[in-house]
């Protein structure tokens, strides 16, 4: 098994764990944690492809991973802000109770 294949398999497993967490948990914060894990698995793929690419001096994969980390930080801030706002309305972070679009 080449190093790139091993890294890709680890990233695939991390993505599947994050997806399982996002799909099976009831708490909205835990769903966000699952989404963060999936984003990080994608970052691991970018870095692994950059490291073993024929032209790593172009820095493309590295740049994509850095931009993706920054976008994930913005996403986490907005997502957790939304969770806090919904908790103020419903007094719960249970996703099964968030079934109305109307405030």
């Amino acid at each position: 098994m080449t190093p790139l294949t091993a890294h890709l398999l680890v990233a695939a497993l991390l993505f599947a764990i994050g997806l399982a967490g996002a799909l099976t948990r009831r708490n909205a914060i835990l769903v966000l944690i699952g989404i963060e894990l999936m984003l990080n698995a994608a970052n691991l793929n970018f870095i692994a492809f950059w490291r073993y690419s024929p032209h790593p001096e172009a820095l493309t994969g590295m740049m994509f991973a850095i931009f993706s980390i920054a976008v994930a930080a913005a996403e986490a801030a907005v997502g957790l802000g939304l969770v806090i706002a919904i908790h103020r309305h419903l007094h719960s972070t249970d996703l099964d109770q968030m079934n109305r679009m109307k405030g």
Binding site: P3, T5, A20, N40
Partner: protein, 165 residues
């Protein structure tokens, strides 16, 4: 592959697994921090020093702390008495297992076609800085705008509204 890679991978995957299966939300956040630290070590093992330390600063320093703050602000720190899983957890597990099966099959099938250049790439902070203000300056500016808007938006969304306004 070296023993160290498999050790770090095992720690990362165990952290991710505990982050999604533990009952107490604070324990989940702590396990998530372990997974982020393992991922940063994997980045460092791939000679991506800048990305590894960025991962530590952004994820462990900011996102994990933000998650803990959100848990404490929503009083989610006590262990829930009823089930923590949704009504149909088996469907989610089957979907995730299917996605992993397809991804793993695709990776193993294309193992021969993947590049395996073994020269050591160099990506110092200086080179990344020059690339960020040279070739990637427009994405950098857009990202700066996005971060500003997202931070202001998160504060406005989470802001406490006074009664009667």
């Amino acid at each position: 592959m070296s023993v160290i890679f498999w050790l770090i991978s095992a720690i990362t995957i165990a952290g991710a697994l505990f982050a999604v299966i533990l009952k107490n939300t604070v324990h989940c956040a702590l396990a998530l921090t372990v997974a982020f630290a393992g991922l940063a070590l994997l980045f460092l093992g791939l000679d991506a020093q800048f990305a590894g330390f960025t991962e530590i600063m952004v994820y462990i320093g900011a996102v994990a702390i933000l998650v803990v703050f959100a848990i404490l602000l929503t009083r989610g720190s006590e262990t829930p008495k009823d089930s923590v899983y949704s009504r149909f957890p088996v469907a989610g597990l089957v979907a995730a297992a299917g996605v992993f099966a397809v991804l793993g099959w695709a990776v193993l099938q294309s193992a021969g076609a993947l590049p395996h250049a073994m020269q050591m790439p160099s990506a110092t902070a200086k080179e990344i800085g020059y690339a960020l203000v040279g070739r990637y300056v427009l994405p950098l500016e857009i990202l700066a705008l996005l971060l500003t808007v997202a931070t202001i938006g998160a504060v406005i969304v989470a802001l406490h509204e006074k009664e009667g306004k």
